[in-house]
Symmetry: C2
Subunit: 459 residues, 2 copies
């Protein structure tokens, strides 16, 4: 049985015998009795195993090392000690898998940097066990939110022949022998000999493909891995991460703000209900005040201001910003911070200058701004970016030409505006940003099981 | 509102006015009245809109073309005609997005080959709309099955530096300019200049990484895209597809058979309950007898036989097989077919000859077979492949050496046998195979939104 199921109904097991399999987190003993902190990975809390001298193999059990896999048979009893309501009085222990003395995960505090080097063992520690369980539960929250609201889960392709993002920003993918590339008459690589008969890439977004399905299903979402080539070594960048990209037909910019707010509250509530021990742990050891922060979001109504209003607010602020806020320009980290602190909660900033936003965003009537919206949250800055999409065929084509987006391979995308086009909108949520926000963990490397960052692709 | 929500409680809306947005699937009219088949993509069934001459813009509505996006306001009434219980009596229609006369998706039968060329429009047809909705619902079934059974959803990395699968079978990935590759002193590509500082690949499986998390969480599953370079143009091969790879600690070969059987029944039941119209449609137009097939699986107990028993059965069969069945050898498609027909239901074949299976599978005591198990289902052959993993460190190392698996980059994998190792097992389910099985659709290209196959990477 799983320890999680045991803890869920522990009163029912009082004075009953159970057999459990799991790992030894710690083993402390004195001459007449000992305690094993036992964990099978299904539940955050350890089960305390108590064994005493009366057991014929007391000495053997005393010597079981940290990290060992065991099968234990014993009786669940009310705990006499403090720290837990119940514990197990051991009848017998069988070692299934030993662990050497030099096992690197010991019952003491390890630094995150040390554990990052041991990515394959770190989920056995409290912190990472909690992080990756929250990651799993948050993923399910997302699926449940969208599925219960009539969305279709759309698997956008990872490999693409279209280089609309600019091939310099995408990974190239090939089956050719890179030390012996076939060349054409022009002395360039002959990609006709590659598996797909042309040069192919890994996409950095499923949005354009997502729009094609939104115009068939009304509501779709993607949830899959995304790879980008950014050569930046920061706490918030990784070259492989997961994204959620919902796209909704018959929905405008206000509509997606409603959806984003509802979705975010749903996820927070879902995770807090299902991972209370993990959230308590983060609140205590990772980000003091995390629970208050999350509860505040649940009970707030998100503020909505335009980019212009945000700049005015920043200009009027009595703060000496490193970057001077300007109309028509981007908003820096320090500005985001000021704004979310000013409103003391999440803020939607809408109607951004068109020149700093993507080609597919709907041009507003002022001809200067687009119907884009970023959600800024206290402590983390931008969490979600979205927009209403340009649904006017001519305006879209003009914008693509202005921004040198190649038209020829994107007729399937632009045609959506000709074949029963409609107003529609969508957004992108970086899954790791969400997990960092939910756990308080500050480095993206610590919320991805096996992170890939520049010069780092171990395991 | 979504048409799905309308249909769910259509009696509640009787004689009430609603506003809907969606697309025109068909528009037929006579001099005094007309019918629009209306669909917003959230529900398989069309809503019939009835409009009559009394409307001031009757002529305009009569001319709305197939494919157009409209907003309609009208009253839900009991239908007098046959074919549906309710319909909408139109009060007004607004065209949101026109559609040209030459719109390729017309209300007639299109071949799947024709629609494959129009991958971005085909989800607007009945068949593909049903297929991709079932795909979405089946994905949710999988998540719900595992999450409700205490599994952690594990995101295995896509990019890897380990070439344990043999680099010839994996896509290479690079940020280097392939027409101007930097060379080292040995005249070979200098991958130190690549983003990760070494040659990197796209993994074809998350299993090895999955095992590391199973030995921390007991029960994990992956569900993500997988890319393989096989240059085969068959109905069942694609170069990009989605896989589910559960891995369970303290579980043996019999344990995973139990899990596979329970999971498959759960998914079938879940999809049949949530997509009854779609399943009816497939049963009628795609695979006659589909519903019977699925119901039979729900009510059967899967047979379990060893590979040796299977070969004996085949040898004794009075059938002239193209490939002669032999002990110690693989089982061909025709054999799978015979076996599932013989038992008239799903069959687990266990204990395969070690020489035709992977290095990580547990060697049985006979030293000739491994604790591997394939699930064969009637009509589709192999659906799931799994095994207990080799948990003996020395045996694993020996087997890797025998099979020329490079040891140096896989110490994190082999160490799992040293650091609290335990008996564990897992399996791989190709998601597209499952969708083909659930829908009766025979070509993998028709169950993937944007399929990637050799020489085919459009969109």
């Amino acid at each position: 049985m799983d320890v999680k199921d045991l803890f869920k109904k522990i009163e029912d097991y009082e004075n009953k015998d159970v057999v459990l399999e799991g790992w030894v987190r710690n083993n402390r003993n004195q001459s007449n009795f000992g305690f094993i902190d036992f964990n099978d990975g299904t539940y955050f809390q350890n089960l305390q195993l108590v064994y005493d001298k009366e057991l014929s193999d007391f000495d053997k059990i005393s010597k079981i090392r940290v990290g060992s896999a065991i099968r234990v048979n014993g009786t669940i009893i009310k705990s006499v000690g403090s720290g837990q309501s119940h514990e197990m009085k051991v009848k017998s222990v069988e070692v299934l898998g030993d662990c050497p003395e030099d096992y690197p995960i010991q019952p003491k505090r390890h630094t995150r940097e040390f554990l990052r080097e041991l990515a394959y063992l770190r989920p056995r520690t409290n912190l990472f066990n909690a992080v990756f369980r929250v990651r799993s539960v948050a993923a399910q929250a997302i699926h449940e939110y969208f599925q219960s609201n009539n969305y279709v889960y759309f698997h956008s392709p990872i490999i693409t022949g279209a280089d609309c993002e600019g091939s310099g920003q995408m990974f190239k993918i090939t089956t050719l022998d890179m030390n012996n590339l076939p060349l054409g008459k022009d002395k360039k690589v002959d990609f006709k000999k590659d598996l797909f008969g042309k040069q192919t890439y890994i996409t950095g977004s499923g949005q354009l493909h997502g729009e094609t399905f939104a115009l068939a299903y009304k509501k779709i979402y993607t949830f899959g891995p995304t790879m980008r080539t950014e050569n930046s070594n920061t706490k918030t960048h990784a070259n492989e991460f997961w994204m959620i990209e919902p796209e909704i037909a018959f929905c405008d910019m206000n509509g997606i703000m409603d959806i984003e707010e509802e979705m975010l509250k749903f996820i927070i509530k879902y995770v807090m209900e299902r991972c209370p021990l993990e959230i308590d742990f983060f609140d205590k050891f990772v980000e003091k005040g995390l629970k208050d922060k999350l509860n505040k979001v649940l009970n707030s109504k998100f503020v909505r201001i335009t980019h212009k209003e945000a700049i005015t607010l920043l200009k009027e602020a009595k703060v000496d910003f490193e970057f001077k806020p300007e109309y028509g320009e981007d908003i820096a980290k320090e500005h985001e911070k000021y704004i979310t602190e000013h409103f003391n909660g999440p803020v939607f900033i809408t109607d951004w200058p068109k020149d700093i936003k993507a080609f597919y965003m709907k041009l507003n009537d002022d001809n200067e701004t687009v119907a884009a919206v970023d959600l800024e949250v206290p402590g983390s800055g931008e969490l979600i970016g979205g927009s209403q999409r340009e649904d006017d065929y001519d305006k879209l084509i003009n914008r693509m030409k202005e921004m040198n987006i190649p038209l020829e391979n994107l007729d399937w995308y632009t045609n959506l505006r000709r074949f029963g086009g409609c107003y529609h909108a969508g957004f992108g949520l970086g899954f790791e940003r969400l997990i960092m926000y939910l756990t308080g963990v500050e480095n993206i490397r610590d919320v991805i099981p096996y992170p890939r960052t520049p010069n780092n692709c171990d395991y």
